[in-house]
């Protein structure tokens, strides 16, 4: 559904590249996370993919469309929700959606139905300038879904949302995935990526440094240890056992046979720990 090959971009049109040799493929119905700290090249890559920046070098294909030679009909198949909501503050939420719905050449979802789905029905006829940041974020997400897109670009979709709204948005994203929508999710929130993404790419200084499923990355870069909570004489004792060591394996077996183990946690790495291990810097 999405093919990116040897993508380069230089804002100064010189040898200093903000995006360097970026390549990946995304299959239909996949949620692909693009993780990296601010300034790593996430937004630049997404802008090139969505036609907001000209393609300088490389190849980008979305749903069969070469984005180097854009036919604007491709935007009937794409939905984009930016991190900054980009809404008309002086129009109501409903008017914002009605305007955008009218721009598509394909059947669109009823704007009111989308507002209801994102818990914005009560604010439908209020000016967007009176919305909270979270409400604006949800309205921008609703706008990106108007045309039933085949490909959805989401930039920090849960940023600024309260836990309940964030959960609702994540459910909606999963729902879209089950409908076969391909989702390109740009974020620096590792929890969102771990929860939603089938695969993630880590981008640092314009280059992809790792690309795999969150599970594989965590296993590859984590340690094979277990955190055990064991009850001894009425007290809880914590210990870490390495599955690669014979003594530790025997110790675990003995504890299990004694029936004193209360909890067992695997000690695989977090995505953030993997990113730090790969780049020497954090995601924030």
């Amino acid at each position: 559904m999405i093919h990116v090959r040897e993508l380069y971009h230089s804002y100064g049109h010189n040898d200093t590249y903000q995006v360097k040799n970026v390549s990946f493929d995304i299959t239909r119905g996949e949620i692909f996370g693009f993780l990296g700290p601010n300034g790593a090249g996430k937004s630049t890559t997404q802008k090139i993919m969505t036609g907001l920046l000209p393609l300088q070098r490389g190849y980008v294909e979305l749903a069969g469309q070469d984005m180097g030679h854009i036919d604007r009909q491709i935007f009937n198949k794409i939905g984009v929700a930016f991190e900054q909501a980009n809404l008309y503050g002086k129009l109501t939420g409903l008017e914002n959606l009605q305007f955008h719905a009218g721009l598509y050449g394909v059947p669109t979802i009823d704007p009111m139905a989308l507002l209801i789905r994102l818990d914005l029905e009560e604010a439908a006829n209020k000016r967007v300038s009176t919305y909270s940041k979270g409400m604006q974020q949800r309205l921008a997400l609703a706008r990106s879904l108007l045309n039933n897109p085949e490909i959805l670009f989401l930039d920090e979709p849960t940023s600024g949302l309260d836990p309940s709204s964030a959960r609702s948005v994540k459910e909606l994203i999963r729902e879209k995935q089950t409908e076969g929508v391909t989702i390109f999710l740009t974020t620096h929130d590792m929890h969102v990526a771990e929860e939603l993404c089938n695969r993630v790419a880590f981008i640092n200084a314009g280059e992809i440094v790792a690309l795999d499923s969150p599970r594989e990355l965590k296993l590859r870069y984590g340690e094979r240890t277990l955190l055990i909570e064991n009850r001894v004489n009425g007290h809880i004792e914590s210990l870490i056992l390495d599955q690669n060591k014979d003594d530790d394996r025997r110790h675990l077996l003995a504890l299990m046979q004694a029936g004193s183990v209360e909890t067992v946690h695997s000690q695989e790495a977090t995505l953030e720990a993997v990113f730090i291990a790969l780049t020497g810097r954090g995601l924030d």
Binding site: T50, G51, L52, L53, P54, R72, Q73, F75, N76, I78, V80, F82, Q84, A85, N86, L87, Y88, G89, K90, L91, E95, Q98, F99, H100, G102, L103, Y104, G105, A140, R143
Partner: protein, 348 residues
């Protein structure tokens, strides 16, 4: 495409409403209407310089002219000279005396733009002197008017003449500033970015804004003109010219806005461009000043087309040329401003 244009137009009209543009337009139109009707006189001045040509043997008029002083009366030595001097000074009147039997023939020459009021005043002020000098009665004086400009069919009262300039300078030219303000607000909100990831084209986006401001210009015209100039106006031609002129101004504003990041930077060059576009106004007030380079000015034919539509003189070709020039300029400017906005403003 038409559906996208329509929804964009609806959005921009709502924005004009919420931004207060509609309210400003209606308020200014009403204010101008009241000023034109009740504050500006029909005739700015009733005193005019008198050019005297005395072709009689007695030359009695020489003394008469001296009694007025040079500021008010000038003695000339031929009808040609009198005509030339009158052409240079629109606020002047000519008096020609020729031999007659038994009384000299008296002929008064007025400018085409001088109304009935000034003619009556001049006749009344000269009558007693002419009776004393020659025994000539007012009824014996021959009155003729000299056509200064072929487009004049009848004098245009000063206050009504002002309507042309108000239409030209306000709803038409102000679109340049309005459209720039709209772009800078939208750029700040990032809504242009959201538009660019839809099938909508940049030229549709540009045209919708220009048309929405063009509709405001039409509203302004329909408030001001019926209550000032009234009947006799070629409304179809006038509305066409105002609408197309407003679109041209908005497109020029779009092009200019594409080079700047905010209204503060835009303001000074914007005002300079408005001044440049307003240059043909000089010819409107000083008809004898219309050099070839001013006639080539992009808005010259628009201004005089609007004048012809407001005060028809039987020269519809002025309107036709105004519409054709505007149509060509609108098409060129739509292409240029859309390209500039796409490359330099939106993608910056």
């Amino acid at each position: 495409m038409l559906k996208r244009l329509w929804v964009s137009l609806k959005r921009d009209f709502k924005m004009n409403l919420t931004n207060g543009y509609l309210l400003i337009t209606v308020a200014v139109a009403l204010l101008y209407m009241l000023v034109v009707r009740f504050a500006v006189p029909e005739q700015l001045s009733t005193s005019a310089r008198l050019y005297l040509y005395d072709a009689t043997t007695e030359q009695t008029m020489a003394n008469y002219a001296q009694s007025f002083g040079e500021e008010q009366a000038v003695l000339v030595y031929g009808e040609t000279e009198l005509t030339e001097l009158m052409a240079e000074n629109e606020n002047s009147v000519g008096l020609i005396l020729t031999e007659g039997d038994p009384l000299p023939q008296v002929r008064l020459v007025f400018q085409a733009a001088q109304g009935e009021q000034i003619q009556q005043l001049m006749l009344a002020s000269l009558e007693s002197e002419l009776r004393a000098l020659y025994g000539v009665e007012a009824s014996d004086i021959e009155v003729s008017t000299r056509l200064l400009n072929e487009t004049y069919s009848e004098p245009i009262p000063f206050n009504k003449g002002l309507v042309t300039v108000l239409l030209y300078s306000d709803p038409v030219m102000i679109g340049l500033l309005f459209v720039a303000a709209l772009y800078f607000v939208e750029r700040q909100q990032g809504t242009v970015k959201a538009y660019l990831v839809t099938p909508g084209r940049v030229w549709e986006y540009v045209l919708a804004k220009a048309v929405s401001l063009g509709l405001l210009a039409l509203l302004f015209t329909l408030i001001l003109v019926p209550f000032t100039v009234g009947s006799g106006v070629n409304y179809a031609a006038l509305l066409t010219l105002v609408f197309m002129g407003s679109i041209l101004s908005s497109l020029v504003g779009t092009l200019l806005a594409s080079f700047y990041t905010d209204l503060g930077q835009f303001f000074a060059p914007g005002v300079l461009v408005i001044l440049f576009l307003s240059l043909p106004g000089i010819s409107y007030y000083v008809p004898s000043f219309s050099p070839w380079w001013l006639r080539l000015h992009p808005t010259y034919s628009m201004l005089f087309g609007m004048k012809e539509a407001l005060f028809p003189s039987g020269n519809p070709q002025i309107i036709v040329s105004g519409v054709l020039v505007l149509l060509a300029l609108d098409i060129v400017m739509l292409a240029v401003s859309s390209l500039a906005l796409d490359r330099q403003f939106v993608r910056r």
